[in-house]
Symmetry: C2
Subunit: 576 residues, 2 copies
């Protein structure tokens, strides 16, 4: 059924199947169900084609919607959700995240379609994150992370302050941008509010039977995750263009082959994104690797596909390396399910998982060793300083390497090609006075010119073999490091609770048993954080060693190739 909508942003088409829409323009949408975040419709000039769902708002009237009167325009992304979504947008939520999440997931599931899976579930997550700013979870005291409550909770500011095409990126455009509005901060903020503090304070009831269990053990340099008893790795290969909408829209499918089954499954980026959002939702205290960014336009440009594939491979390597993440049932489902119907069931099961957030903490088995909380605090502070410095240096290296790529493609290539051209000009001029012209010398100089043109091209090609790989790994680490401030904040919050409860107990305002319980649960948080720190270091060492070696090997090969070209060229002069 066609519905009317109003453009809330101006959109300029960038591909022939897309149409322009102007801000405030009234447009017609042929099908309310967006596909990959795109609507098919018609603008006021009668042009038909695609435009981003998030750029328009459906115009709701009593006849085509069951929403309440005070919300006659709702963001397109929340189509199909009940009126509670609107009320959350305006900052007056009254239920917990988990509840919200589940109810949305049910709705979402009704529309689920293996072959034609739209972006709504992502949008639901986003609403979740945004509304959580103003949610006071059960038992949360709400004094932590107040600084994270930014203008998104201001009812006068439309929560979709930037075009959602950008906002949907799994890694927000820049965590250095100074904006506090972003998925990560929100996510962790919500963890603090409705999750970990609740857990520490004992507000999360122990459940009757917990199928999952993750063990932390003492290693030589402190707590660490117990290895996955069935380790595996997983390849991601062969990104292949697929079409739908009778070819009007295309997407990329990847062949994903885990070693423990050896059977490939085919996954799209959105499947990764679904898994990523499950991980974010479930795993407190674990640094979930960020997915490589989405790209709104030019998605099928070859270089971009290649880059996304390389970065998904690194993402997958971190997933399979992680003793906890690699054992997650939802991940197993993602890696193994090849059947449409089974997929839906597994997906629904993952979305109904109760052991998420605060409850996930209940699945952790910690060692009996005593750890002085003060020592843990110091360990965490040291790691925090380290992580900050590493984050800075990774960012510095990223900037330098990016600039170096630019120089390879631009300045270096240009300089060598100009030199090549100039040699060719000299050679050409030498041919112009034939009686006195030495063909052998002219040829040698001309060949030298071509050699330098080649060397210019080699410089331009080289980032593909070294700097790109370095940047991929740095990007993974930027994501992992970006998670730590919030994870560390959890532990800080828990530690504050211990001190507070001990003081209250000392003052007789709290039962000592209760204070001991808080201390015990805080230990769990501390062990988990240390295990995660340890895993990070272990991977860092392997990853950076590999990165540096690979870079140096490619650099050596490069300069050897340059040398060989020059040696061959020099030989032309020696026979003159």
């Amino acid at each position: 059924m066609s519905v009317k909508a109003r453009a809330i942003y101006t959109f300029q088409s960038e591909n022939k199947e897309e149409i322009n829409i102007q801000e405030n323009e009234e447009v017609l949408i042929f099908d309310e169900n967006s596909v990959d975040g795109w609507f098919q419709g018609e603008n006021s000039r009668g042009q038909r084609g695609l435009f981003p769902a998030s750029y328009v708002e459906i115009i709701r009237t009593r006849s085509n919607s069951n929403v309440t009167d005070d919300c006659s325009i709702s963001p397109a992304g929340s189509l199909g959700n009940d009126s509670s979504s609107s009320s959350y947008i305006h900052g007056t939520p009254n239920s917990t995240n988990a509840h919200l999440q589940q109810s949305y997931s049910y709705d979402d599931d009704d529309y689920d379609d293996w072959d034609d899976w739209d972006d709504r579930s992502t949008v639901v997550e986003e609403i979740d994150h945004h509304t959580s700013h103003t949610t006071r979870g059960p038992g949360a005291n709400g004094h932590a992370h107040q600084s994270h409550v930014t203008n998104s909770s201001n009812p006068n500011v439309h929560y979709r302050s930037r075009p959602p095409m950008e906002r949907q990126d799994s890694i927000s455009s820049s965590r250095k941008s100074g904006s506090m509005v972003g998925r990560n901060l929100n996510r962790f903020s919500s963890f603090v509010r409705s999750g970990v503090e609740a857990f520490v304070l004992g507000d999360v009831p122990m459940m009757a039977k917990i199928a999952e269990s993750y063990t932390i053990e003492m290693g030589p340099v402190g707590p660490r995750w117990k290895d996955n008893p069935n380790p595996f790795i997983c390849s991601i290969e062969d990104p292949t263009k697929q079409t739908k909408f009778k070819g009007i829209k295309t997407y990329i499918s990847y062949r994903v082959t885990p070693t423990h089954t050896g059977r490939p499954v085919y996954r799209r980026y959105k499947h990764f994104d679904w898994l990523y959002n499950r991980l974010l939702n479930k795993f407190t205290v674990i640094s979930v690797p960020h997915l490589p960014e989405k790209q709104a336009t030019g998605r099928f440009e070859e270089d971009f596909i290649e880059k996304r594939k390389r970065r998904l491979v690194l993402w997958m390597n971190h997933m399979t390396s992680h003793p906890v993440l690699s054992q997650y049932e939802g991940f197993e489902h993602f890696l193994m399910c090849a059947d449409d119907k089974q997929w839906k069931l597994g997906k629904r099961r993952a979305e109904k998982d109760e052991m998420v957030g605060a409850h996930f903490m209940l699945t952790l088995q910690i060692p009996n060793e005593h750890q002085d909380l003060q020592d843990v605090e110091e360990r965490v502070d040291t790691f925090k300083s380290f992580a900050k410095k590493m984050d800075d240096s990774v960012l510095q290296l990223t900037h330098v390497a990016s600039e170096l790529v630019r120089k390879h493609l631009g300045g270096f290539r240009r300089e060598f090609q100009r030199l090549g051209n100039a040699f060719q000009s000299v050679s050409h001029s030498f041919t112009l006075d034939p009686p006195h012209s030495s063909e052998a010398l002219n040829n040698a100089i001309s060949h030298t010119g071509r050699t330098y043109e080649n060397i210019g091209e080699m410089f331009a090609e080289q980032p593909k073999y070294d700097l790109f790989q370095m940047l991929d790994k740095l990007s993974l680490y930027q994501g992992l490091l970006a998670n730590f401030p919030d994870i560390i904040h959890l532990q800080k919050g828990a530690f504050a609770k211990v001190k507070e409860s001990q003081r209250m107990s000392d003052e007789g305002k709290m039962d000592q048993n209760e204070a001991d319980g808080i201390r015990k649960r805080c230990r769990t948080v501390g062990f988990a954080l240390q295990a995660e720190m340890s895993h990070f270091h272990q991977r860092r060492e392997v990853d950076f060693k590999d990165m540096m070696q690979a870079y140096l090997r490619e650099q050596i090969a490069f300069y050897q190739r340059v040398t060989q070209q020059l040696e061959r060229t020099l030989r032309m002069y020696e026979t003159l």
Copy 2:
């Protein structure tokens, strides 16, 4: 004796021994005899020190000068010349260049001083060149090179339109600058007016006895200079700082050792410049290599000294390679005389040489082979096109190579050093969480950082080993090529005279004998030009082969060194 002078330009001191003077400021000069173009004196603020002689004009009064009333201010450079110099400046000369030259040389010689040789002789040359614009030499018809008569002949324009510090450069600041006022053009213009055309037209009388003789012979691809029967080469080494004026002024002395004597002589740039001016004065139809440019300030900066030495070496190589130039008596004097008194005698003899300009043409012995003048014309036209293209491509390569030097010192160094810094930052951050820190990895990464910093420095150093040498040679060739348009113009003028005289003879307006004489002398010009073209090509082939080989060898060595550094660095990771 102190004299008053007025500053005609503002001069800013750049070294501590110099003083500032303002335009129009009245200053005192302690000694009218400038040293190296500098006066010692005192400005109106009582500061004492050096300033450029060319920036001031002596204020002449009846009491301290014998010049005529209408010329009470004369350029400082013409001190000690009689009033005729003033009248030449104002464009009403009435004697020939040769005469002028000689009378000035006598005056000049009276002031000559082996140890403290001032710049006046150079200034005299300049007056000569400038005044020659308006000189009609004997028998010259004055229709050629009219375009070269520029504003310097305008009595309203002071002939010192730019500070002479620049003008004195042996290579004018830029022959691409579009200005027609310059030494080279003037020189050739004067050759055309008072020299070669006069020779062709038979106005230069055969002299009773000519000691000099240069032979042109037929080679496999046309006329060529007969080899110097006593070939030699000459080294220029060990530029050494010398002082005079009790250390207030310094200069550089070079050890010059020709192989045929094996005895070193010590020469300053000004001695080279004197020789260069002798060559310009004497050798018609020969492309005299330009001296490396003077540098007004920072003359003793090490890089500049090194660069000038390298370029003097190339200049000298061209001189010794040239069958005619290498046999010049003045050159022999320059290379062999080590005695003060003998030097003065030889210098005066060279300056009194009558076989200069048009008369030099009388020293040429040409082959008997018949050459059709039309064929010569075509040969010359082909060479002219070639020379134009080669000039363009040499200029292009010069620009590219200069820019590449800039990139090596700037962009390339910066990029690699930034990469090195970033690696060091990463390594440093890795040390900050000691229990999880691997010293071996940190060291390897830190070493990689230093390696890239080194590579940055290697890039910055590299031009010294390759691009500078290339630029030196290109500069020599720019100078040689810049001479050819004027040399070719001589031949064109001579050829036009042949056609004109033949027409006149056909019309009975000229005796056939006279027309035949013109044709015969035109043959001499044609042979000489072809011999010079041939010599240019012969040297070009050797020089460019050497240049390209040297460049490639240094480039190969450079990339090999980079590779070795990286290989050593990589090995640090392999033992981890």
